[in-house]
Amino acid sequence: MTVCPHCAAELESPAGCPHCKVPLEVPEDASLFDLLGLEHRFAVDVKDLRKRVLKVSRDIHPDFFGTSAPGVRELAEKNSARVNKAFEILSDDAERADWIVRDLGGPDEQEERAMPREFLMEVLDWNEILEEARSRTEALDPRLEPLASELSERRGQAIASIGALLTPMPPRGSPNLVRVRQELNSIRYVDRALAEIEALRLARASVR
């Protein structure tokens, strides 16, 4: 655990000191987990993560440094932006897995893009339903809600298998990272379809 350079108090997050109520310099290469004082592992308690972010934000948010020296104000801006980014990524299972794969030198979505043939056939089936649902202007297509449940379930399974592949954290260059990337690619297809369903729900919910 790092300590505050001013008061030597132990810090939950190196981004700021809750006693001195100031932002602190964090090395550029500190990981997202380091930034929030978390262990490097896939499993994250989102509620605990949120509490940490709110707590450190109350020490370092630029709003509290409006009348401080420019250097302090800039550090508050920079650290808050980094903390917000870390929360955005770490609080989402898929984004967190994506970050871990990159961090461990695994393939990005361009380098590993092959998808199993049967999966792509399924995608074609969803797209057909979505295509027809789009052309129905009056009510919501009755097949959409069952499809949404099926897709959500699939997503849950993909996240579970990612969790298994990343626990314990694999070494750099592990073949597990390639398999995680493949699961993440399938999640991208699922998420795109789910977003489309949500857009259709919104459009049809309007009583205008």
Binding site: K21, R50, K51, L54, K55, S57, R58, H61, P62, D63, F64, G66, T67, E77, K78, S80, A81, R82, N84, K85, F87, E88, E198, R201, L202, A205, S206, V207, R208
Partner: protein, 622 residues
């Protein structure tokens, strides 16, 4: 003359900051005082200052209630709803401009200018006039305490250009903007909802010209905005327009179509419609009366609330669509919302209240005046920003996605909408031709897929890339949106470490040079305005002095010798003549000379008063 003691340390102006709600229809200010936010109002009057400016043929522009009274009589020289034009180009607001009685042009960079009395004004300059008035009223209500520190609110859905325009308006008004904050977020601060342990709050803000809905989560005294959505062209004005179209159709049928294009008629209909709408808030039916003596038009009709609700149902549903979008972005259900806060004068419309209550399944908060709640919240934030309060925090989001135009004219999103600010994102780019030393970027804001459908924030050219084969250069571009919601961009070529120069040319905005010029211009006018007021004040003062001298001279004539009486009479005649001057220095001189000439009379009067007061008292008591 008594000396009034001022404790400079305790009343230090730097400890004060105003929260200003710069509204489409009305504007007002509030301040943090005695442990809570308070609206600043002129004694015994409403705090709301109509956002209306009247330009008399001669003299300084008039802002506020008095200006609004000119709208019907002199519509061509009375400007309202300026907020709708902030940071916009002609084609964005073609619909609004069609119903305006003055002409509008565009500068080279797409900035709107309204022409009044042959002079051109940008929306920024016009908003600055309103801000000056609000600031003036606020400082008077503060008992003469001066502060130029302000927090100004904008609709959550304002894009970067509109925010920048608001900031420029404040600069032109001589104010220091601590922060531009979102209206609905401000409203949630005003309600003191941080007292609750944890919960989800929806702020429904239906103002004069815009609609915003914001979903917040409150936890550990931190207000975290989860999502925001809205409609920049939905507000009370649109409800008025629905009623107005009722009158227009009927009047055109009865009196011919020519009359409905008359500016005087248009203004009268607009105001009558507003009047009827307000009456329908409390009454089941109301009179809709359009009277334009100049056109010999006297039209009236009863309107029932049911009729009004039917006319405006579509507008209410547009607001509900935005609520659904905001909830969807926040991944929440209406059932999970713990509190709903109503903001904006138009949230008083019974059908709006009923629909909101039905949609969220709970009675919304209406305890605070919906027209004051935004300014109150801005005052809370202003107090936090000057270091007066650290027990709560507001974490806001950027309302629109930020992206770059790609080769095919599509948009590549760099920062997603509803990202918590401050936020940053880094993107990698490379060259597509051998020895290419520069890359052009076009920054856009919005949710549409094509760059042409989004709002253009500016273009920048990245230069200084070392010559390399195509695809070899590794350029990383960093975008940072700070707590003010203002974007900065930095770029770096990674293989050589060369930093690239980035220049952003703002679209639809004022350049710094333009702001400077306008500021200089306003200082010139400020001197003129100041002189004009001083002339008026001195004339009044001389008038009062002459009048008092006449009265006192008659009362004290017995104690004055003949020569003194003649001297005084000469001095009075001279002062009356001198008061006709229009020059500050001449008037000042006349006033001073008159004061000297009346000295003997003043001394005599003082003696009389003193001897009266001392009469009957022994020396010991004095």
């Amino acid at each position: 003359m008594a000396y009034i003691e001022l404790n400079v340390l305790n009343n230090s102006a730097s400890q004060l900051a105003l929260g200003i709600d710069l509204g489409t229809t009305n504007s007002l200010a509030a301040v943090w005082r005695d442990g809570r936010p308070t609206v600043l109002r002129p004694e015994g009057k409403s705090a709301l200052i109509p956002s209306v400016i009247h330009f008399p043929r001669d003299g300084a522009p008039i802002v506020g209630r008095e200006a609004r009274d000119h709208a019907v009589v002199d519509p061509k020289h009375t400007v309202f709803s300026i907020k709708r034009f902030m940071g916009r180009g002609l084609k964005d607001v073609a619909q609004e401009l069609a119903s305006l009685p003055y002409s509008a042009t565009e500068t080279e960079r797409g900035l709107i200018q309204l022409e009044i009395h042959g002079k051109k004004y940008t929306p920024e300059e016009l908003s600055a006039l309103i801000l000056m008035k609000v600031h003036d009223v606020a400082c008077k209500a503060l008992g003469g305490l001066e502060t130029t520190n302000v927090v100004i609110t904008v609709p959550a859905y304002f894009d970067d250009t509109q925010r920048q325009a608001t900031r420029d308006a404040a600069r032109l008004a001589g104010l220091d903007v601590l922060r531009i904050i979102n209206e609905p977020t401000a409203a949630s601060l005003a309600y003191g909802l941080d007292q609750r342990d944890k919960g989800n709050v929806v702020v429904f803000d239906l103002g004069g010209g815009t609609f915003d809905v914001t979903v917040l989560s409150i936890e550990d005294s931190v207000f975290r905005v989860l999502s925001t959505a809205g409609d920049t062209h939905l507000g009370g004005d649109d409800f008025d327009q629905k009623l107005a179209s009722l009158a227009r159709a009927d009047v055109a049928a009865k009196h011919g179509p020519g009359i409905v294009d008359d500016p005087g008629f248009q203004q009268a209909v607009r105001m009558a419609a507003e009047h009827t709408k307000i009456a329908l808030t409390t009454d089941p039916d109301a009179d809709f009366h359009v009277h334009v003596p100049e056109l010999r038009l006297n039209w009236r009709r009863r309107v029932t609330r049911a009729e009004f609700d039917a006319l405006t149902r579509d507008l209410v549903e547009r607001a509900m669509d935005a609520c659904r979008r905001a909830l969807s972005d926040a991944k929440l259900d209406p059932k999970t919302i713990d509190e709903v806060v109503l903001v904006g004068g138009s949230s008083r419309i019974p059908a709006v209240r009923a629909r909101v209550a039905e949609f969220f399944g709970k009675t919304p908060h209406t305890e605070l005046n919906p027209e004051e709640v935004v300014a109150l919240g801005a005052a809370v934030q202003a107090h936090i920003l000057i270091g007066g309060k650290r027990d709560m925090l507001l974490m806001d989001v950027t309302p629109l996605s930020l992206g770059l135009e790609t080769m095919g004219g599509a948009v590549s999103k760099i920062i997603q909408r509803n990202s918590t600010i401050p936020c940053e994102a880094t993107e990698g780019f490379t060259t597509y031709a051998d020895n290419q030393t520069g890359i052009d970027f076009h920054i856009v804001q919005g949710e549409r897929e094509l760059a042409v459908d989004c709002r253009s924030l500016g273009r920048f050219k990245l230069t200084g890339i070392p010559p390399m084969p195509a695809g070899m250069a590794r350029v990383s571009v960093k975008f940072h949106i700070n707590a003010d919601g203002v974007l900065t961009v930095g770029a770096r070529e990674q293989s050589t470490g060369a930093t690239a120069r980035v220049e952003i040319q703002p679209m639809h905005g004022l350049t710094d040079a333009e702001v400077e010029t306008m500021l200089l211009k306003s200082y010139e006018h400020a001197q003129e305005d100041f002189d004009a007021r001083r002339v008026a004040d001195l004339r009044t003062e001389i008038g009062i002095m002459v009048h008092a001298t006449e009265k006192n001279m008659n009362a004290a004539r017995a104690g004055l010798d003949k020569e003194s009486v003649l001297d005084l009479e000469d001095a009075m005649a001279a002062a009356k003549a001198a008061a006709k001057a229009a020059d500050v220095k001449q008037l000042q001189k006349a006033r001073d000379e008159f004061e000297r000439a009346t000295m003997p009379l003043a001394a005599l009067l003082m003696n009389n008063v003193a001897s009266k007061a001392l009469r009957g008292k022994s020396l010991g008591e004095v």
